[in-house]
């Protein structure tokens, strides 16, 4: 029970915080088609977050909103990749490609989880994530292959994001499924090859005494996300919405 709750929380937090970062991009996209696509992806992830937090909350005796709006930063279990603030559209699609490829692999493994609720969430989510990954891949290819400028920006985005990927594959005692980095890298390599881009290597965003996002140790961006996200709910804890 506790392990399941903890893991649903982690995956739910990934989706909730990632969705928040996409929400910030609304009305700032390069085209209206991208506005609707990004809104759609943000909605899908929000939906995944709600189901996962509800599953965790069922075990912990808390509602999705209590978990989303009344936990402190150290209680959030998302990976740090989810909280990254994309600086341009290249980072938006590059990060989405990495995140959705990894999460799709994870949800694939989880669709045979022993908890039937989690298995169902994973199976439904896998369909959505397939679309997210394909959307991101198409844009990574367009930008990688497009102009000299877009190629440079796409490669710079990947280079900037890459240090955040190591954490995705860290051993996690509470994980109910794990993903082979090689299989995710293989997917990325296919896309990057089509885009004429190279997979970065080397640098990683180190942990703090061995602790990172899954342990509640985040980047400095996280406090600002939560201050904003939780502000209205916390201003009047007795309110009903």
């Amino acid at each position: 029970g506790a392990a399941l709750a903890r893991y649903c929380l982690a995956l739910g937090d990934d989706a909730l915080i990632y969705s928040h970062r996409l929400q910030e991009w609304l009305t700032r996209m390069p085209e209206l088609e991208e506005e609707t696509a990004i809104a759609n992806i943000a909605l899908d992830l929000l939906g995944q977050a709600r189901m996962l937090l509800a599953r965790a909350g069922g075990i912990l005796g808390q509602s999705e909103d209590q978990l989303a709006f009344f936990r402190s930063e150290a209680e959030f279990r998302n990976v740090r990749l989810a909280e990254h603030a994309d600086r341009d559209f290249a980072e938006v699609v590059g990060r989405l490609l990495i995140f959705s490829s990894w999460r799709l692999a994870l949800f694939g493994a989880l669709s045979s989880a022993s908890d039937p609720v989690l298995a169902a969430i994973a199976a439904k989510g896998a369909n959505e994530l397939t679309y997210h990954r394909d959307y991101a891949a198409q844009w990574v290819i367009r930008l990688g292959d497009g102009t000299e400028l877009s190629h440079a920006r796409m490669q710079a985005a990947l280079d900037a994001l890459w240090p955040l990927t190591a954490e995705l594959f860290l051993p996690d005692a509470s994980a109910l499924a794990s993903v082979d980095p090689g299989s995710v890298h293989a997917v990325l390599d296919m896309v990057l090859a089509a885009a004429g881009l190279s997979r970065p290597g080397g640098a990683t965003l180190g942990p703090v005494s061995g602790r990172a996002g899954r342990d509640g140790v985040h980047t400095e961006a996280m406090g600002y996300i939560l201050a904003e996200m939780q502000s209205v709910a916390r201003a009047d804890p007795d309110a009903t919405w």
């Binding site: 929400q23 085209e31 367009r142 102009t147 209205v232 009047d236 007795d238 309110a239």
Partner: protein, 317 residues
């Protein structure tokens, strides 16, 4: 020939049949129609901003999902309407340039700030409500593609309006602070909502031609009165006070009387001096300008790979 075409056009209008893209139409009709549809499209796109402002701060995950879906719908409406304008020969790129250059307007209501989560509800209730009053008759617009777009849009707007009203009902059953928040939002949005119907009929010189062409079905004042009559009982049910001491039922007219609209404020906002005009257009312009390299990359990629990838024509605008 031109006489024949004009006759055919007039006859189509007279019989309340629809003008379609391939049909001949007078230049004035085309220009007016383009402007009307473009401004409506711009309103949908700019209208994403005041509501989008609260997505990241929505106080429950259910409300967050509802609001996110609504803002997504508005983007969809905008695209749908730009496509309708394109059937008249207007380009999306050109219309966007006119919007961010300040040469085409959008609904003045979006130049007001959203200052609490109650504003999300009040925009659903009053602003979408006013938009529906304006738009339902346009489902019978003489221009076919616009009329069809309006049917779909009105359906979704009604849904949004009910969601907004439902949020307000929930808030009014909540804490005292929530009720105050709703009342404050109503105080700020009531008068600007009445302005959404445009200047009084006496100051609306194009109304006659537009009604003759079947692209406007009621005068501004008729629609405004309809909106007031509809809103007063809704406000009573909600338990909020509309900020107009002169508002009262007139048995003789069979309508609510209401106080004078501050047309000076309306003109100031239209002229660019509203609380958010600069901010709204600057945001849209920044998104467009900062996206230029992305659109160029998509075009370059499409040129290199004509067989493999379909990039929507809009990506070139």
């Amino acid at each position: 020939m031109s006489v024949d075409l004009q006759e055919h056009f007039d006859e189509t209008i007279a019989h309340e049949r629809r003008i379609e893209p391939r049909d001949w139409m007078p230049d004035g009709y085309r220009a007016t129609m383009i402007r009307q549809i473009a401004q409506h499209a711009h309103s949908e796109i700019i209208g994403m901003q005041p509501e989008g402002n609260w997505i990241t701060r929505a106080p429950s995950l259910r409300r967050k999902a509802i609001l996110l879906a609504k803002v997504q719908d508005e983007a969809g409406h905008g695209m749908y309407l730009y496509s309708a304008a394109e059937t008249l020969g207007a380009g999306r790129g050109d219309m966007t340039a006119k919007l961010i250059g300040g040469r085409q307007k959008y609904s003045s209501i979006f130049n007001y700030p959203t200052l609490s989560y109650a504003d999300v509800g009040v925009i659903g209730w009053l602003v979408d409500g006013a938009a529906i009053c304006n738009q339902v008759p346009l489902c019978r617009s003489s221009y076919g593609p616009y009329a069809r777009a309006m049917i779909r849009i009105c359906k979704e707007e009604s849904f949004h309006q009910r969601q907004g009203y439902e949020l307000l009902l929930t808030m009014m059953r909540g804490t005292a602070a929530q009720r105050e928040m709703v009342q404050d939002a109503v105080n700020r949005f009531w008068w600007p909502s009445l302005m959404m119907f445009g200047p009084p009929d006496a100051d609306s010189p194009n109304t006659a031609q537009s009604m003759e062409w079947g692209i406007k079905r009621h005068t501004n004042d008729e629609l405004r009165q309809r909106f007031v009559d509809m809103s007063v009982p809704q406000a009573e049910k909600l338990g909020v006070t509309l900020p107009d001491p002169l508002l009262r039922w007139n048995d003789e007219r069979g309508h609510y009387d209401f106080g004078p609209v501050d047309w000076d404020e309306f003109k100031a906002v239209i002229a660019g001096n509203g609380p958010c005009n600069t901010q709204r257009v600057a945001r849209r312009k920044a998104a467009h300008d900062e996206g230029a390299w992305v659109r160029e990359a998509a075009m370059a990629h499409a040129r290199k790979n004509p067989e493999r990838v379909r990039v929507s024509p809009e990506a070139s605008s």
